[in-house]
């Protein structure tokens, strides 16, 4: 039996999502920009999807711009920065890389540090905004550790000195969307929707990255990926309906797993439990090589990740854990376990047993049976 515990990398599609997408692929293949009946049907589906996504993020439908995922949304927002970008040391590569490119082009980039629990240093954030900034861009819930930044406090700290962009890719569908942000990025495949679809929610004018046929009210060119968008909306509808139940259930499974793993020698959690996404367990296991452990666990039928999946194959210590003050050795010995839809208590118990057995075998240095 395979046990999938890597829901921060991606999630399985819910049957309701597949059904909604199949229907669009079969029946609603028109171009939403066309004036005829086929086009109108597609436009209707697009509008409905927009309202659904807007509802989950607490925005007006016209503020939602569909994109090909959060990477595009992040790149879009950052492309408008001209003088000063304030961001953090724990960003996803889709913010880190564009930020580095801006810096090379002469833009001032301030990267606010975090403390040992991954929380943003608000004093440093305040200082960074002394001369103002074009944009504050920060990851709301971290993809590697699950640490959730306190948005209300951050908004207070910024005190309207710069627009705020939150990368909500990991947060959406796991915790309620709150706060007075200006831009929000999200991706469908992190909440049981399809890959290749996401959105930028813009409460003020956003830069335009992809110019084309005037779609998305001129904010994102290219004929809409209607099946993906409708799948995204279906996933958002489920997330809204199940919000409370999902949080409680994930947290219970995650805590059950931690109870079974906390006796592992030297094991410790990254981030304060009450400040971490309900589904994420970021573990430090001293003296263990994270990538070997992930591969060995895969052979035992347990899918987890060391650091972030985007870095698969590259053994460089996670910049997120280094920013939290871990040594490279500690960072390389870290494991990210993230639960989600489809997991149950039996799976958690079985996974914990397999992890224990594997670590015992690795420590003994003996071959298996």
């Amino acid at each position: 039996m395979r046990i999938y515990l890597d829901h921060n990398a991606t999630t399985p599609l819910r049957p309701e999502v597949v059904e909604a997408m199949s229907r669009v692929l079969r029946e609603t293949w028109g171009n939403p920009s066309s004036i005829h009946a086929e086009g109108a049907a597609a436009r209707g589906a697009l509008d409905g999807a927009r309202s659904e996504v807007a509802e989950l993020v607490g925005a007006a439908p016209e503020e939602v711009v569909f994109t090909a995922g959060a990477t595009e949304a992040n790149n879009t927002v950052l492309s408008g920065v001209r003088r000063h970008l304030v961001t953090t040391r724990v960003e996803h590569p889709s913010v880190r890389e564009p930020a580095a490119e801006l810096e090379e082009a002469g833009v001032r980039v301030t990267r606010v540090p975090v403390d040992g629990d991954g929380r943003l240093d608000l004093v440093a954030l305040d200082a960074a905004l002394e001369d103002g900034a074009d944009l504050v861009s920060l990851i709301w819930a971290n993809n590697e550790t699950g640490v959730v930044q306190p948005l209300p406090e951050i908004v207070t700290c910024i005190a309207a000195r710069a627009p705020l962009h939150v990368d909500a890719t990991q947060a959406l569908g796991k915790i309620p969307v709150e706060g007075d942000w200006d831009f929000l990025s999200a991706s469908a495949h992190k909440l049981n929707g399809p890959k290749g679809t996401g959105c930028l929610v813009a409460r003020r004018d956003a830069p335009v990255l992809l110019r084309g046929g005037g779609q998305e009210a001129g904010r994102r060119g290219g004929t809409e990926n209607l099946a993906g968008i409708v799948g995204f909306a279906a996933a958002c509808a489920l997330a809204r309906k199940e919000a409370v139940e999902r949080r409680t259930r994930c947290a219970a499974l995650r805590d059950r797993l931690w109870e079974r793993l906390e006796k592992l020698p030297g094991a410790r959690r990254n981030g304060r439990p009450e400040e971490v996404l309900p589904n994420t367990l970021s573990l430090e296991l001293p003296g263990v090589e994270g990538d070997a452990l992930v591969q060995a666990l895969d052979l035992e039928g347990v899918a987890v990740s060391a650091g972030a999946a985007c870095h698969a194959g590259a053994v460089s210590a996670s910049h997120v854990l280094l920013a939290m003050g871990r040594t490279p050795e500690q960072a390389l010995g870290s494991l990210r376990i993230s639960v989600g839809h489809g997991n149950d208590e039996a799976q958690i118990d079985e996974a914990a047993e397999r992890i224990h057995a594997l670590l015992q075998r690795m420590a003994s240095g003996k071959p298996g049976e």
């Binding site: 990538d291 070997a292 053994v315 298996g368």
Partner: protein
């Protein structure tokens, strides 16, 4: 039972993987990523594809930084010290075998399988594991594996050890492996076009040691840009006119002096070897054979231990021996061990 198969993406490791699957192992492919981008020695995309063809799991292990630090830079530093290092030895040991052994431990695998042309058996008297030359002497790779110890040999299986290269290709073709007709990899994977000097200069910019080229009597024949451009036994590209055929006979990193001389001056009969390791117990026999280059006929020699080093007195002289080369000690087909040339004399 599980087996870890070291996969480089070439035909040899592809066939080794097929052999492991056919032998009934739950074979898991492991490819070590050593260089950024594609290299001719190791193509992990091909390795992954072969594993798919064979229904095996495949994992890449990233060792790009460590490979640079532990193989490429010591290689450059060796040249800058006037030596002729052989990076494939430490690569095979640290970057192929040690990684594979560690993965075997993590995966609970009994065997480590690679496509080397070498063999492993048990000594009928002592029961100890022995490393032997591959049956195909033109492809024998035991020279690169002399640092394997009993623990490594206890797990190692080289399915190609009894085969010739032609048989390997034929067997790969028969199994429809897409790497069956892939060309041979070059000898040193990170030295494109055999341009050693460029690699050394790239890894250690500004470290070139210029100096004089002198003949056996000390007469200065010319100047050179850096000793890393010279290796003992070299004849071409000396940049001096001696009026006769001369070879590099020694490279002195202290003074930057490159000495040249006639071919006779290259001949050595005594070899001092450092960093010696044995595949089993240190040999009892004093009469051994020694091989100082990959694909060279071994020479009979008398072995004496001298503290940390060994001294090999050769029955017949060898030519163009340089510090840093591996000297591998054989008893017939059996690899006893070896080390690296520390010094040589006539």
């Amino acid at each position: 039972m599980r087996a870890v198969v070291g996969m480089s993406g070439g035909v040899d490791s592809s066939l080794a993987a097929a052999c492991a699957v056919e032998a009934g192992f739950e074979a898991v492919g492991v490819g070590v990523r050593q260089l950024e981008g594609a290299s001719r020695c190791c193509s992990l995309a091909d390795a992954r594809r072969v594993c798919e063809e064979l229904g095996m799991r495949f994992y890449a292990v990233d060792r790009v930084d460590a490979f640079r630090r532990e193989v490429m830079e010591p290689f450059a530093d060796g040249y800058l010290r006037g030596q002729t290092p052989i990076p494939c030895v430490s690569c095979n040991r640290t970057f192929k075998f040690d990684v594979l052994l560690a993965r075997a431990r993590a995966f609970g695998a009994e065997r480590v399988v690679t496509g080397h042309f070498a063999r492993v058996d048990s000594d009928p008297e002592t029961g100890r594991r022995r490393l032997l030359r591959g049956r195909d002497r033109t492809k024998d790779q035991s020279y690169f594996l002399f640092q394997l110890d009993q623990e490594a040999l206890a797990r190692a299986w080289f399915p190609l050890g009894e085969m010739t290269k032609a048989e390997v290709r034929e067997a790969a073709r028969r199994r429809g492996l897409h790497t069956a007709d892939k060309p041979e990899s070059q000898e040193i994977c990170f030295v494109p076009g055999d341009d050693y000097a460029a690699v050394v200069e790239g890894l250690r910019p500004g470290a070139a040691r210029p100096g004089a080229v002198i003949d056996e009597d000390g007469a200065v024949l010319g100047r050179h840009d850096g000793i890393h451009r010279f290796t003992v036994g070299q004849r071409r590209g000396l940049g001096v006119a001696a009026g006769r055929r001369v070879y590099v006979t020694s490279v002195d990193a202290e003074t930057g002096t490159v000495r040249v001389g006639p071919p006779e001056a290259l001949e050595v009969r005594e070899v001092r070897v450092r960093d010696v390791s044995w595949t089993g117990e240190p040999p009892v026999t004093r009469r051994v054979e020694v091989q100082v280059r990959y694909r060279q006929e071994p020479v009979k020699a008398h072995l004496t231990e001298r503290g940390q080093e060994i001294l090999l007195e050769l029955d017949a002289p060898v030519s163009g021996l340089s510090a840093g080369q591996a000297a591998v000690v054989y008893d017939g087909d059996v690899v006893l061990g070896g080390g690296f040339v520390a010094g040589a004399g006539p």
